[in-house]
Subunit: 477 residues, 2 copies
């Protein structure tokens, strides 16, 4: 079994621009606020550690399953030479982590590269049950040489099962039922559920969705690692980075545990300073997917109804993904001159994986002389600095998470950091960060509208004409 | 010159779920509020019409420039058979409209299709000056057969000019200086600016960025239409749809002019009901780019500082892009159980361009029987209905913009609708929706940090160590 070489966390966090000293008492976190929250953080740390010791908080253990990582790596190595295309079918937590990992660590044009430069199958995702996208995808992949990976813990997810049934039928039409079963891999509950049952009946190869872990916490399980490995990502590096961040987050001090620090600043900014939005704005195309993954994690974990002294309270800060420097030309006008209702987390990358020098600045345009000989990564990073400064001047709290470069370990660090940050934020809000009770109503209504057995009563309610007209006809304006 | 066949607007809007009748007085727009705002809308309509008559609001005229559309279509027809690849270099308003149009109207896997099915060059964008992405792009395109289109009105945009200089040098290295000049098309100011000067000197073919129009309003000019035409989009259809929506928006009545209705509901929701965020959530992958385009338009136009009775006020609602049904598995938990601080605009598509039936539901899984024989578009649309219902039950105001299908005219309608909506929203907020004064500080700071001549004083200020430490070193936590 692979041993993980020891590695140290390499992320740094600079939160000075989120402090009262930088943006004023009205908008910044003060030392007094942090001191106040410190004891709550210590208590909650103890509770989380106790839960973990008692078998809870199982997502924390995912970096330790090296046997699984070895199994995935071995499977992927074979599959990478066997398959031309890889089709991931999953939605939400069953695809966002994989998309983020691959976007961060593979060539952005991976699907366009010739076979010998790509190293493994092309990568396609069916997440939405959008017939236009599904049709186009099934037309573009080479089904005869496609590995289909369906990911759902329960096998009940309507979008995933619908897309899977469509893909499976298309696959069977091309390669026949027997070979289709050999080309399908199911990532699902190891024991229970519809997909587990189907996989056992049809003889699919399976990988486990770890029990006791929410979908949005599965990026470091087979759910995220199998796709990553198939696209050539160093999954052991991912786990090593996650483990390094876990090691760094052992302490209970809000000022030195980076996950707790980020949680405390965000929750204080929301609950005490009116920053109802948390913008994550990496200055690197490759990290936009991580911001999108975090957007699910933060929203679904913290957006919760709770009861405080008998009163209904709605908690949660709205996560927003942005991309530097592009969104300087889209959102920064609003962020600096609109309402002061956001905490902005910039993500910096110190060394890019490519150096591109600007040359050939035309003579006769002195206005462009400053670009001559400059390097694009330097320009991008100075744009980030300039934005941090401009936000601070406008008294908009912001902080910077800096990575030395983008590699598997750094991405693993980010995943662990944000997951622990989210668990602590849940504790500070007083909400349960696990589960998503608020999506049940819509899910049931979909079943009812689709005529699923057992939902007839709800269907009748939905289709009854309410006063003022049905919800379900469009009034042309 | 092409005559535009008469066409009628086909979008419909259902705003009942955003009314007090549906979600309660605390969260919904009441008839009284709409009646109150109606006279202001009438006044502002008269002002806008007068400005237009006097030569202002020039973005409204873009659908009429059929001579330009013909010229672009003719150029594109030639270029489509000549070039293998098309590289658009532009950021913000110089690329978002083109990306949105092409995502809506071309095959989602266009770049992967064989030449004979693609109909025109592959499409690449350099927006961010991210060296990793730029390097990968320049490696993947076939520079010998690439049309490079640089888009900036002034030629001062740092990111665009940096990326252009890099691409130009790479192109010259492959095809030489003379042929490079023939492969470059500049979309820029017809008379002024650095890029105009360079284009004239080097003999680039040019297309105009229309004077008197902000970057974010140029989607229906050469800025958006040239890329669209190169990717096979029916640009005359786009203009026809925009003109149809313009025709429909001639009236000054808030209840029957759809742009004014959307503006009024959004601004009332923000200023009177605490809905500081406006989510646009199409249920169609193809329209996600339009939501992203609108995100720039709304943020940059309305996120403004203004002075009301001598007091500084920060206006603007934060636009958020979401995608149905994917974000039901990411954001809907927050939208239904988190703070009631959002107005959610769902976008429905009545007929998809593909029909995909679900078949092969396994015997022995009655839980999936409801999917057998169903069609994906139907599932997706019922998810939207279910979400609208669940949001309404949770008293979250929402509305639905419905398109009969996605075609060029519908996309043109959406562009015009949202632009007029934004101009009226600016009027209701009392802000100037044009210009983006808030981005100057960051832009200047970038110049200063890059050592541009004339910015030495700011550079010294920036690099001076402020009390409490510089903004520009990272303190490891």
């Amino acid at each position: 079994m692979t041993e993980l070489a020891a590695t140290s966390s390499r992320l740094t966090i600079d939160y000075r621009n989120a402090t009262a000293g930088a943006v004023g008492e009205e908008h910044g976190v003060s030392p007094a606020m942090l001191a106040e929250v410190a004891s709550k953080v210590r208590e909650e740390h103890a509770r989380i550690a106790a839960e973990h010791a008692a078998g809870g908080q199982r997502w924390m253990n995912l970096p330790d399953d090296l046997a699984l990582a070895d199994e995935i790596a071995a499977f992927a190595e074979q599959a990478r030479s066997r398959y031309q295309d890889y089709l991931l079918i999953g939605i939400g937590g069953s695809s966002l982590g994989a998309i983020a990992t691959i976007a961060a660590l593979a060539d952005p044009y991976r699907n366009l590269l010739p076979d010998d430069r790509r190293g493994g199958p092309r990568f396609f995702v069916l997440d939405n049950p959008d017939p236009e996208k599904v049709r186009a995808t099934l037309e573009v992949v080479d089904l005869e040489h496609t590995l289909v990976n369906v990911v759902t813990k329960s096998g009940q997810t309507a979008e995933t099962m619908a897309n899977f049934l469509v893909a499976r039928q298309a696959l069977e039409a091309v390669v026949g039922k027997q070979r289709a079963s050999e080309q399908i891999v199911a990532t699902t509950d190891p024991k229970e559920g519809l997909l587990r049952k189907l996989a056992d009946e049809e003889g699919y190869r399976t990988f486990p969705v770890p029990p006791g872990v929410d979908g949005r916490q599965t990026v470091l399980s087979a759910v995220g690692m199998l796709p990553a490995a198939l696209c050539g990502v160093d999954i052991h590096g991912l786990l090593r980075g996650a483990a390094a961040m876990r090691e760094r987050c052992r302490g209970d001090d809000v000022l030195t545990n980076p996950a707790y620090l980020l949680a405390a600043i965000a929750v204080l900014a929301d609950t005490r300073l009116g920053k109802s939005m948390l913008v994550t704005m990496p200055y690197a195309d490759a990290l936009y997917g991580v911001a999108d993954w975090f957007r699910q994690l933060w929203a679904e974990s913290l957006g919760k109804r709770l009861s405080v002294s008998g009163e209904e309270v709605f908690a949660g800060q709205t996560p927003i993904k942005a991309l530097g420097a592009i969104d300087q030309h889209s959102q920064i006008q609003l962020y600096t001159e609109g309402p002061n209702d956001k905490l902005i987390a910039l993500v910096a990358v110190e060394r890019c994986r490519a150096r591109v020098e600007i040359g050939g600045t035309p003579a006769g345009t002195p206005e462009l002389a400053y670009l001559q000989g400059a390097e694009l990564g330097q320009l991008l990073d100075r744009e980030r600095l300039a934005t941090a400064w401009a936000l601070t001047e406008a008294r908009r709290p912001n902080l910077t998470i800096a990575a030395p470069e983008i590699d598997a370990a750094v991405v693993g660090e980010l995943f662990f950091l944000h997951q622990l940050q989210t668990v602590m934020a849940g504790a500070l809000y007083g909400v349960n960060p696990f589960g998503q009770p608020g999506v049940e109503a819509g899910k049931n209504a979909t079943y009812a509208l689709m005529g699923r057995e057992g939902y007839e009563g709800l269907r009748d309610d939905l289709l009854a004409e309410p006063e003022g007209g049905s919800h379900f006809t469009l009034v042309p304006v």
